[in-house]
């Protein structure tokens, strides 16, 4: 299957000799350009299976590479390297080292579901992106993304009290990611709000910051959810074929396999 929007030729594999004479013919400069060949020997045959075992990845096998997902993608319009169709292609072939070249941007899917809307095969590419980002973190290829840290802060509050309080989520998220809360644009927003904010609204915000909003009699529900989430986490870890702890190479079958 040709991949129109991605070049499989890597810039570093394009070789040009400034000064080169071959058989008495001067082929200096671009006359001598050639593409260094590379051989892919490190297929991870379990890749598709591992990703489809995670929530959202279940339907990746349906993909027939039409490219509707990439074509409709919100993030692709901002960053052309963000390419769901290409990643699905790599995952299905088992080209793990190729996939890992983009490991630091896959988490950036904004869940707008344009791909899911456009997909003629019901692959649910949005889910595949989430499953892939999840897999990268479980395998230790990437640290937890800021998106994951936000999801965790948010979900922990919901599991604890049944509701969230936005101020607390923002403070918790900034603490987890080590960012200062005093950012120029946040201060400007607060300033604009304060200019018009009546006393009652200020009191309401202060009240919910001190007395966390919560669902009554939530303890049993929170415990039941916590138990289920822990079970699922254990199951996801076990679904990785190696079962190796994070940080031990790509899938535990050895150190870095093959060349990029």
């Amino acid at each position: 299957m040709p991949i129109h929007e991605v070049s499989l030729i890597r810039p570093e594999n394009l070789k040009t000799h400034e000064k080169l004479v071959m058989d008495g013919v001067d082929v200096s400069g671009h006359w001598s350009t050639f593409i260094e060949s590379r051989v892919v020997t490190d297929y991870n045959e379990a890749l598709e299976e591992e990703i489809s075992a995670l929530p959202g990845g279940e339907h990746i096998h349906r993909c027939w590479q039409c490219g509707s997902c990439t074509n409709s993608c919100t993030v692709n319009a901002v960053n052309p390297d963000f390419n769901p169709r290409y990643w699905i292609y790599l995952i299905r072939l088992g080209m793990e080292s190729e996939l890992l070249r983009d490991k630091d941007i896959i988490w950036q899917c904004v869940s707008c579901n344009k791909c899911t809307y456009a997909c003629p095969r019901d692959v649910f590419p949005e889910g595949v992106m989430k499953a892939t980002a999840h897999w990268l973190e479980l395998q230790g290829h990437t640290p937890k993304s800021s998106s994951t840290l936000f999801d965790e802060e948010f979900s922990e509050q919901v599991f604890a009290t049944g509701k969230i309080e936005e101020g607390r989520v923002i403070r918790g998220f900034f603490a987890r990611t080590g960012q200062p809360l005093r950012q120029e644009w946040l201060i400007e927003m607060a300033r604009r709000l304060a200019r018009k904010m009546p006393i009652l609204m200020g009191m309401r915000m202060a009240f919910s910051a001190v007395f966390r909003p919560r669902t009554r009699n939530w303890a049993r529900t929170g415990a039941a959810i916590g138990e289920y989430v822990a079970q699922q986490e254990a199951k996801h870890k076990a679904s990785l074929s190696s079962g190796s702890p994070p940080g031990q190479g790509s899938n535990g079958r050895g150190p870095e396999r093959g060349q990029r």
């Binding site: 960053n79 904004v110 800021s146 909003p213 529900t221 289920y228 989430v229």
Partner: protein, 311 residues
């Protein structure tokens, strides 16, 4: 009175977490508009978070449980037929829970297991209808009914209607949409346009109605969100809009927040203002801007209304 219309006169109301925080103006204006139109709201008892955009990334079936718990309370404790959620995220999640519980046995099993341990009754698909605030007014009152009640026409006000992602995507969780005349379209939604036109506003031709504001990563990937929001704001201005009408607290605060951020971080200033569609309808129905919480917005909507002699 049609069957749908009479069902929507009194509905269970699920405000959700955002409407008690950053989206408070949306909560206030939704209630005020309901009161002015004679539509009644019963808040869902002891509700919980629907899971928003976050819990599904920890586990999608927990999100289904959280949303189904809200539906279960409406069905069993309140004996309601209809739940109305003004927040796109809540609306989307309740719809998705409804769909998953109707079509996916694994989701039913997990929801039944968690509900069993939590001691509540699991929700059964098909018991309650989930609607958005737009459906509520569109079908509960209708354009003609709204027009008859307008006291302060929005005449001359140019509005770009912004629906966002969660109101129409993915299509399969909204089986009632795309069913021809009178129903909502997932590719070109128009319910907000219809209602605001009935209130006298001029709807501009706005190409980014269902574009994404980057709401899911508004803080975790702010640079991308700022660029996405800036596209939306610029497109609205290019279309000649005075205000962008919103129908989701996450979109609304995202647009406001990243308008400020674009100005501070990128030096890109835009002047278009954001107002919830319920704030615009409230003003058209003769309520004061304060009664619909215009002063609670970051963006100065009052300025846009005054410029057109509406407030």
């Amino acid at each position: 009175m049609s069957e749908t219309k009479s069902r929507y006169q009194r509905v269970a109301y699920y405000p959700g977490c955002a409407l008690e925080g950053t989206g408070h103006a949306y909560n206030r204006s939704t209630k005020a508009v309901g009161k002015a139109l004679g539509l009644e709201l019963d808040e869902v008892k002891n509700w919980n978070c629907c899971g928003a955009m976050e819990v599904k990334n920890v586990d999608p079936k927990v999100q289904t449980y959280l949303s189904s718990r809200v539906l279960s309370i409406a069905a069993h404790e309140m004996k309601a037929d209809v739940v109305m959620a003004p927040c796109n995220g809540c609306y989307h999640n309740l719809k998705k829970a409804e769909h998953d519980l109707a079509h996916d046995g694994a989701s039913r099993e997990v929801v039944a297991a968690i509900a069993g341990k939590a001691g509540d009754k699991p929700y059964e698909a098909g018991t309650v209808e989930t609607i958005h605030a737009l459906d509520w007014i569109k079908h509960g009152i209708g354009e003609a009914g709204l027009k008859a009640r307008v006291k302060n026409s929005l005449a001359g006000l140019k509005v770009a209607n912004y629906y966002g992602c969660m109101y129409t995507r993915p299509r399969h969780i909204f089986p009632e949409k795309d069913k021809g005349p009178g129903t909502e379209s997932t590719s070109k939604p128009h319910f907000m346009d219809d209602l605001l036109a009935a209130a006298g506003a001029v709807n501009v031709d706005f190409p980014l109605k269902t574009a994404c504001c980057g709401g899911a990563h508004t803080l975790s990937d702010s640079d991308v969100s700022t660029r996405l929001v800036l596209n939306i704001l610029r497109a609205a201005e290019a279309a000649g809009a005075d205000v962008i009408a919103t129908e989701c607290p996450t979109c609304h605060s995202g647009l406001e927040m990243h308008q400020v951020r674009a100005e501070k971080v990128l030096g890109q200033k835009t002047r278009v203002k954001m107002l919830y569609f319920t704030q615009l309808l409230g003003v058209a129905l003769g309520l004061s801007p304060r009664a619909v919480g215009v002063h609670e917005n970051v963006s100065d909507g009052l300025e846009a209304l005054r410029a057109r002699n509406i407030a």
